[in-house]
Symmetry: C2
Subunit: 485 residues, 2 copies
């Protein structure tokens, strides 16, 4: 931690300020999202402190925002959705024209700011599809992604795209084993291509490839050069998925001091850090994040759209809700999953089938009291619902009590603890469905009401359950319990 | 970035040192893993620099290791594998005794340092299973995880475990909506439980729950207290999955300055950042990371074992290879996936089915020249193989050339470019299998050899392909091409 960032509180007067509300939501003690809806920026506090003195002022609170927080774009970013470019590089992907158009329309309806398409130089059909999507009149801007080469640039600018994303490898690995060009040649070509695209009046981005294994001076030098000639964005790419969060933060922050243009980042997910790396890039001042639906792309792919939305929603829920049509997320993921013949991963953020299922007894109790105890994402904001599992051996009596109340049964806490021990005993052999649990609760309740049953009378309860089974079709479902033992 | 960390190079003599090899592998310019096998610590350079002067020395290179890097435990950590505890809280999980034992044995064979089991207080079968696993005589230490309560502790210490993991919620959310206890009560109970477990001569860990939404002073205070009475480890838990990487780094670093004992971290994955958060915790000085196989646990689960191994292998390959039986990873993931009835996600690090599949033309070319260009994980270290896809419209002639050489055909580069354009044309309609590609290459080659074909004679090539189809059963596979158009 930088010593100049946290002031010495003993040297400054302690002041209670009503506009220092952000202070309680500090990074360490209580993150911004602990208090729903307040984002990470403690607006106003820095200005008001600075206003009281002409020399640097010691901060009065060690958890006050730091200078670096003002670079933070966690609630000020754009998504470049690359399912139709990076995603086409996924092993299973083969998108026909109809599928491409369906995906582009869905992404546009979701609200992504940019849609990136495969280079029209890749194949004739790629070129035709690019033209077709440009003609759809979507709100999202359409980009295409080309090698840093005049041949490709000439084809790209004729398709009707709103911008061209140019890329070239700068790492020693790529310079030696891929294109074999030196930095002088790379710089010269980049300038030619950028000037050409700009002359057509459309956006141009220049990105290096494998940026995290490129020489830092080479990188900064070429970014500074292209910034000076008016490129719209520079891009950093972790092409091999080797970067880690603090490394991403530092490179983006360094670059933020070198160029005036926007900064885009493209992150592969080989070690599972692409979402976190994107988040740290925004904290360091990046402006545009590349995503694909479910993260599909080369190898294990890139930052997934849904995962990025999850972490940014957690940081700045109101901003993200206002910007994107969140309930569409599941539909888009299903569309793409079907097109490339994969399943939505069970542990996918937000849409994984158990993302809002609570199981442990202590979790279930708290969730029933207040969902914010164990949920930083509100399922209803994504058109989804929460589920509290209670028919398993980790269950707790508070969760069971909630079900008792839902069923409008009248039982004391001691009675609920008693019936819970029976549920745990049965669930130790086989997980009980909600129907099973409801039956157990109803039989217990009627036994108590009729006086046939009291707390602790295990054998009487077992007899009542057997009798219920004999008379009721509905209890048939629980019958395998005995057999499974 | 802390200004005191990067010295002013102009005020120090420039010295070329052979032992400064770590310098080139700086965090920003070239990460450690860019040069295979060298880990992130630039051993020796700091000591040798300090040896030359009694006052703080200005570093001669801005990319030299920083003071904070010496907290880094990225190549000095232990895994607490919690599939049999956290994993049991996964919605689908119901492990019978036999399955628990199979998973425990597999984790032991893989080499995890600790295996954590469900509380024996959860149910009678949980207690019996805990005892059974303790009697297996595994190399991994066996832990069980209990609420901070003397009733649970008394049961736990009788099971034969090597240690007890104690947890209690400290966030305002949990104190209000879960257990309703204040910090005085929490501290008093913690001391009682810790002293009791220690009196039995086994390890004890004390963890807070929902640590990132707890008051920092409360947290540090209780950790300091339990450290003083001799707890073996303190644990930080991101129970709701709200933490981000730099926040984790800062909390762990702060705690590292407060306690002398080990530091464990438990991270939920609700926003997809659990792997990256674990990595940053190690960078800040954490010593133990909680994982589960495939990340299974409450909701979308916690840091997955495979993903954590991937990012740590990328940072310190030799250390990770020496420590764990990496080729077993796939087997363990399949075992657990089957037990909880899920699929291994298609984008799983390392074992996702396309993790080593390369598709884009420029990628394929470079991979064929040198796999390190696009791979930071060596598939052979995990008992897996790489695959370069070439029968698609994004293919490139370099990838095709590699296949031509594998088939021992003789074609010039111009001829290969010519046949590649045919492959792209066909793949624009339908992705071509490797068999399809091989057939196209063989027909082209024989046409060239016989003189029936020359570069650019598209119609002649189409005729040869048709003739081949008529005479050869093997070309039947490519027939749907025309129909699909």
């Amino acid at each position: 931690m930088c010593p100049s960032c946290n002031g010495d509180s003993s040297s400054a007067t302690h002041v209670e300020r009503s506009d220092m509300v952000g202070v309680e939501n500090s990074r360490i003690g209580r993150p911004a999202h602990a208090a729903n809806g307040i984002n990470g920026h403690a607006n106003g506090s820095a200005n008001s402190v600075n206003g009281s003195s002409s020399r640097p002022v010691q901060r009065i609170n060690p958890y006050a925002p730091r200078a670096s927080d003002f670079l933070n774009n966690v609630s000020n970013f754009k998504i470049i959705e690359s399912t139709l470019r990076e995603g086409e590089q996924f092993a299973n992907a083969f998108f026909d024209t109809k599928t491409k158009i369906a995906i582009a329309k869905a992404l546009d309806a979701f609200g992504v700011e940019y849609i990136e398409l495969t280079s029209p130089a890749a194949s004739e059909q790629s070129r035709l599809d690019c033209e077709a999507i440009c003609k759809l009149g979507l709100r999202s801007k359409i980009l295409t992604h080309i090698r840093c080469h005049m041949d490709d640039a000439r084809i790209a600018v004729e398709t009707g795209v709103d911008g061209v994303d140019v890329v070239i490898g700068t790492s020693s690995f790529l310079r030696e084993f891929s294109h074999g060009k030196d930095m002088t040649y790379i710089t010269k070509t980049a300038i030619e291509v950028i000037n050409f695209v700009k002359s057509k009046g459309i956006e141009v981005r220049f990105s290096t490839e494998d940026s995290f294994r490129s020489d830092l001076v080479d990188l900064l030098s070429i970014y500074q050069t292209v910034d000076k000639i008016g490129v719209n964005r520079v891009g950093i790419a972790d092409t091999v998925g080797c970067a880690n969060p603090r490394q991403v933060y530092e490179l983006v922050r360094t670059l933020r001091g070198v160029v005036a243009c926007d900064i885009e980042i493209h992150l592969h997910n080989d070690t599972g850090m692409a979402i976190a790396n994107a988040y740290c890039a925004l904290e360091a001042g990046a402006t545009h994040i590349d995503t694909s639906v479910l993260g599909i792309g080369e190898r294990v792919g890139i930052t997934p759209l849904g995962g990025l939305v999850a972490c940014l929603y957690a940081a700045a829920p109101e901003y993200v809700k206002a910007k994107y049509n969140l309930p569409m997320l599941r539909e888009i993921e299903n569309l793409v999953a079907e097109a490339v013949e994969v399943n939505v991963p069970f542990m996918n953020p937000i849409t994984g089938y158990c993302a809002f299922t609570h199981k442990a007894g202590i979790h279930a109790k708290a969730i029933l009291n207040n969902p914010s105890t164990y949920e930083i994402l509100k399922p209803e904001d994504f058109g989804l619902t929460r589920y509290v599992a209670i028919g398993h051996r980790l269950t707790g009596w508070n969760a069971v009590k909630s079900r008792v109340e839902q069923l409008a049964l009248t039982l004391t806490d001691d009675q609920i603890k008693d019936v819970t021990s029976k549920i745990k005993e049965l669930a130790d052999v086989r997980t009980q469905s909600l129907d099973d649990v409801d039956t157990i609760l109803r039989v217990y309740h009627s036994g108590i009401q009729s006086g046939e049953l009291a707390i602790g009378q295990k054998e009487a309860f077992d007899r009542l359950l057997r009798e219920h089974r004999a008379t009721s079709q509905s209890f048939e479902r629980s019958e395998p319990i005995a057999a499974a033992a």
